[in-house]
């Protein structure tokens, strides 16, 4: 067991924490934050486990994956935030209407 597993566990913890917040909170900004926290959790798992080999340089492939992921995340966040503002302007609330058509 090395410290990388600690970070990996923190990563899975962030993932579940974000998932919980995503489901429970109704305000869209919080949901967007929750998605970002989940993303950070996944990235942490990816990068932490890349540093498993003791002494050797860490595997660069997950690093590249995470950089890609960070850019994807910021793109998605920007779109989500813009959508949120529009939803708010259109409905008066920054929430999803709870009357799901089911």
């Amino acid at each position: 067991m090395s410290h990388v597993f600690l970070y990996a566990l923190v990563g899975t913890g962030l993932f579940t924490l974000g998932l919980y917040a995503l489901i429970v909170h109704t305000h869209l900004l919080r949901k967007i934050l929750a998605i970002n926290v989940m993303g950070s959790g996944v990235f942490l798992v990816l990068v932490a486990l890349a540093a498993r080999a003791r002494g050797a340089a860490p595997d660069p492939v997950p690093h590249a994956m995470v950089i890609t992921g960070i850019v994807v995340a910021v793109s998605a966040t920007a779109l989500a935030l813009a959508l949120m503002v529009r939803v708010r302007a259109e409905t008066g609330r920054a929430e999803l209407s709870e009357e799901r058509p089911e």
Partner: protein, 236 residues
């Protein structure tokens, strides 16, 4: 766990009933435990492809392995990712009519700060771009620093001149993806595979792509921050 202790979280959202929340907590705790267990059973010896990267680093044209992966070994991912950025911007623009941020005067502090910082940030971006070939840095980092400079300018009340808000802006935004695609296609035309750089040109090609990408990333991020499509002049 901490979250169950927090009384505020229980009352925060009345729409979701407490029993449901408790059930959710139980389920998610189980999920966390399961994931944690799964992670902890992984062998502590990395089976990753670090060795392959190291073995091929020489022919990749750069010496920073992360840059090598991003712009050579798995450059196709990066190509598509440039598309993701552009799509996000298209999405934000197509939403249209986002209310412009309150038009408050930026104030002298911000004004001065931006005057001071922006040139520095542009320099930093250039440095990061250049250094990315052999040390931490590269197009994304440089691009985001450039984007930060753009954000500062926007905060200071600066707006793109209407003359440049049309085609010139759009060209800048597509440069990153465009150069990537053109390089890939030209390589295919000369009989190589998509994005298969000749080793002798690899470094130059990567730098070319990275420079274009940096410009586009910076511009895109700043445009995302601005939100609405800049008003173009009467034509284009």
């Amino acid at each position: 766990m901490k979250k169950t202790m927090n009384p505020k979280s229980m009352t925060e959202s009345g729409k979701i009933r407490t029993p449901f929340r408790l059930l959710l907590m139980v389920l998610l705790s189980a999920l966390a435990a399961g994931l944690g267990y799964a992670v902890s059973t992984l062998s502590s010896q990395s089976p990753g492809s670090g060795e392959w990267v190291a073995a091929n680093l020489e022919t990749s044209g750069v010496s920073n392995p992360v840059t090598a992966v991003l712009l050579n070994f798995r450059s196709y991912d990066t190509l598509l990712e440039m598309g993701v950025l552009l799509v996000a911007l298209l999405g934000v623009w197509s939403l249209g009519g986002i209310p412009e941020q309150r038009e408050s005067s930026p104030g002298p502090v911000l004004d001065t700060l931006s005057r001071l910082l922006v040139p520095v940030l542009i320099l930093v971006a250039g440095y990061l771009l250049w250094v990315g070939a052999h040390a931490p840095g590269g197009a994304f980092q440089a691009g985001s620093v450039l984007g930060a400079a753009g954000v500062l300018l926007l905060l200071a009340g600066w707006r793109l001149d209407a003359r440049f808000a049309g085609l010139p802006l759009r060209i800048t935004l597509t440069t990153g993806l465009g150069v990537f695609v053109v390089v890939g296609a030209v390589l295919m035309l000369v009989g190589r595979r998509l994005l298969e750089y000749p080793p002798s040109f690899a470094g130059a090609l990567i730098l070319l792509i990275e420079a274009a990408a940096t410009l586009s990333i910076g511009m895109t991020l700043a445009a995302l921050f601005l939100g609405s499509r800049p008003e173009a002049g009467p034509d284009r």
